[in-house]
Each structure stands twice: as C-alpha cells, then as structure tokens.
Point group: C2
Chain length 289, copies 2
Amino acid sequence: MSTRDFNEHSITDAVVERFADTPDPRLKQIMQALVRHAHAFVREVDMSQDEWIKAIGFLTRTGHITDDKRQEFILLSDTLGISMLVDAINHRMPEGATETTVLGPFYVQNPPLKPADADISGGEHGVPLYVTATIAAPDGMPLAGAHVDVWQSDEDGFYDVQKPGDDPNLRARFTADQNGKVSFWTIVPKFYPIPADGPVGDMLKATDRHPYRPAHIHFMIDHEGYETLVTHLFIEGDPYLDSDAVFGVKQSLIVSLEDGAGAPPAAANKPSGTIWKRLDHNFGLKPAL
Amino acid sequence: MSTRDFNEHSITDAVVERFADTPDPRLKQIMQALVRHAHAFVREVDMSQDEWIKAIGFLTRTGHITDDKRQEFILLSDTLGISMLVDAINHRMPEGATETTVLGPFYVQNPPLKPADADISGGEHGVPLYVTATIAAPDGMPLAGAHVDVWQSDEDGFYDVQKPGDDPNLRARFTADQNGKVSFWTIVPKFYPIPADGPVGDMLKATDRHPYRPAHIHFMIDHEGYETLVTHLFIEGDPYLDSDAVFGVKQSLIVSLEDGAGAPPAAANKPSGTIWKRLDHNFGLKPAL
Ligand SMILES: [Cu+2]
Ligand SMILES: [Fe+3]
Ligand SMILES: [Fe+3]
C-alpha cells in the first residue's frame, strides 16, 4: 500500500504502521491497539463530520472543567464502565480475598488517626451505625497493625470535602488490633449523585441515565506484604444497587445492616434507648507478589 | 446477568445495556459502539491501573493546553488518522470530483477578497509561483462565481497567524470568472511541523514519529448547489509526502510545479528575468444532494 494515498479502507493500516518504530514495545502495542479500535468505532457508526466536531467539543469542555478539585475525565471513564473494567482486570482475586471497586473522587490522603470505638460522625445527623471489621489474609490469619481508612457521605449524600469548612468528617484511619479487628461508630450512609453539572452530566441526561450511586462506605486497607485493598461496602436495600452510575457494585460487597440490640456498645455519646444499626464484616487481603 | 455484580467479562454488556433508554437512536448507537470499542481496547492491551492513570493525565494535559488559538484534541485526532478517516467516510467522491483532505488549524474565516492575478505573498521571500485553476462540475461545466479560498505557509513553514502582526498574508479569496477560472501569484510553500510542544508532540516523540507535513497549498471552494470542497494541493518531490504527520496525502492531490517559461504573466512586480514556477490545476465539485 502506498503511504501517500490514504482512503477509508487503507488508512488504518497506514496509521498502525506509522507506530512501527516506537522504541518501547508496550507503548507500541497500546498505540496500535488504540488506533485499530478508534478507527473501528468511527467506521462502525459511519461518523459524520458534524458528530466528529461535537466529539471534539465534548472533550474540550471535559478538559476545561477539570482542575485540582474536579476530574471530569475520571468521571467519564467511571460512567462508561472503563474504570471498573480496569479495576477488574488488575484485581483478579483469589479465594478468601475481598473484591475491589473504584476509589472514587472523595478520598483524602492521611485521614485523622482515631482510636478503637471512636465516633467519626462529628455530630452529623443520622442513624447511628456501629461497625466492626476484621482484616485477615486469605487463609484467615489476622493482620494486626493493618491501616484501615474509611470515608463516607453524610445522611444527605455529601462528603465533607463537598461542604464548607475544613474539618475532616466521616473519614478516619484505624489500626487493626492483635486480632486484626477495628471498630467505630458512624452513621448510616445515603445514596448520592456524582457531579452532574458538567459534560458528563450532560451525557447522562442525553442518554436518560441518572447520576446516583447506591449508599456505601469506602475502605482502603493496607498491610505490609499484601496488596492495598480499595473497596466499598454497599448497603442492602438501596434503590440504586442495580443501577450504580459508575458500575461499582459487586454482589460480594453488599452487606445487610442488623438492628442493634440493647445498649449501644462502647459509646459514651449514645443515650440508652438510642435506635442503632450494626455492621460486621471480614476483609481478606491478597498477598503481594 | 445481574446488574449488581460486574466483573471483567460482564461489565461491557451491563454498560451497553445502561444506554438502552437513550431517546435519540443515533446517540444510543454511538454511545453503545463507543463503550464496546473502548472496552475491547482496554481488554486487548490488559491495561494496568498505572497506564490508566497516565491516560487520564494525557487527556487532562490535552484539555488544558487547548484554547481559542490551539486545538490539541483536533491535533490528536489528526495524528491518529481519525480526522482523515472521518473525512474519507464523509466524502466518497464521484468520478470527476476532486478528493478532499483535512481542513487543518490555520484557516481564517472571510479572507481578503483579491482580484485575478493578485500577488498574495505580501512581499514574503520565496520562489514566485503562478497558480491557475478552473472550478467545474464533474461533467466539466465551469462554475462561474465560485469562491476560492487559498491559504498556505511561507518559505519557512509558518502561517501568518503563527507570526507577530495582524495582517493577513498568503491567504485570500478569489472569485471564479465566466470560465470558472482563478489565477494568482504566490510563493512555493514549504513543509512544516505541526505544533509539537504539547501532549501530542510528546506522543510523537515517544513513538519516534516526526511532526512534519509535506508542503501544500490549502483550498476551500464553494459554489451554490455543490458540496464545499476542502482540500490541499501537495507539491511533488517533497520529502514528507510519504509520512505526512496527519495522513492527509492522496495521490490525486500531488501536483508538479512546472518551470515558468518567459516573462512572468500579469505580474507588475516581477522583473523580467525572474525565475518562477507555475501550477495549473482543475478542481471538480461534487453536486450537493
Ligand atoms: Cu474495537
Ligand atoms: Fe463514595
Ligand atoms: Fe497546512
């Protein structure tokens, strides 16, 4: 094929060939695959010039709304299921290891370290929830000293970083005890919408999709010799479990909240007679290679 | 398939299904095809989390360098051959109609209207070139009154808009006469690099690709009842004809410059004895549907 006469049939091979001298073989593989799939997409939909211009405009707006606080390209990747696909490919889990899901945009590095049974709700309104969790290897060996970062939205579906004020709230780090156990008080989380006032929100609207994520608590769990586990626990009964806007739900991550029985344990700030829920969960960490 | 249990195999169908209620059937088709090809790409290369983060960073930088004067997403589309593919799909040309190529980033709306035989070089250094062209229907009927916009780089490979000063230079609009003919003086253009100081330039460098486009003159030709023709004429002998950075070359658009014989025609500013070239070309316009 002459490289000076491209047509709609020959151009893909010509572009793939143009990447033949890429020194890094992995980059070469990625660029050539990108070209083939992008061209196949354009060809399959028989893209018009006008649609191409719209696509350029969409990407431009996505770039312009992205800043230090907002990552609209990640949101786009999330809402197209690409983030979860990458997550799944990179976390093929052995028996006994907890499944992963997306990190999400609301994690903050180095959350405040809290002692066992601390209340992380900071006085937020909501149904009190007492969480106990054990961190273990796939064979059940407890992982004492594991760092357990937790973060979640309030009862209205907002994270602290989305609200005025700088105080960390509903986020904390715990250290697992000799039995690999952590426990803390929080409140029952609520479903919430992803930021929907940008190009990704426009896409969701145009395609009749809602922006909601089912209620969940985020966990990031870390112990030497094991892969860092980034996951959520979703709350059974949430109306959006079957339609998470970012496709983050896995059956194994859905948990039921039990009604608390008797006086709230270890809670100085909960008068007896308080109605409360409890959540008990065991996390398994995958050994690092 | 449960929509609350995504894994690397089921997630693509789940995301495609999520677009099922898109009211506009064309948008639905495009989004579903986009998801399938994007997922197939990620799966084929077995994308790592780290590579995904790099891709997000690349798109973010591409968005941030894009402004009113610079469109890095178009440059990306151009260098991946996507622009030319879209062009080819949308301009399947009948016999007798000139082939199209990319518009490029240097077109300026409403260039200065010039009379026949005007010199558009504005005194730029270079080998004088006398261009004559006829504009016709595919059957040869001359298209009197056609607007012919021309623009090109100078002898150093720069367009006027890339240089200080506001005067339009090496760009003009001509009106075809009763025989569908236009003629003008210019200079022989030079190959030039696309802007290579941004993310797209980084990509070209990392893949051992050069940023050059072979020397060309841009034409945009317009006549009622016909599709607007956006094309170039490339100069035979250019060293980059076989490796245009944006894949814009078509064999039918490569022309030879002839040596000018005798005194330069209709050129008040060319002393006799001037060495000059000539280019004669016939353009065919495709009837509008
Ligand atoms: Cu594909
Ligand atoms: Fe969240
Ligand atoms: Fe050009």
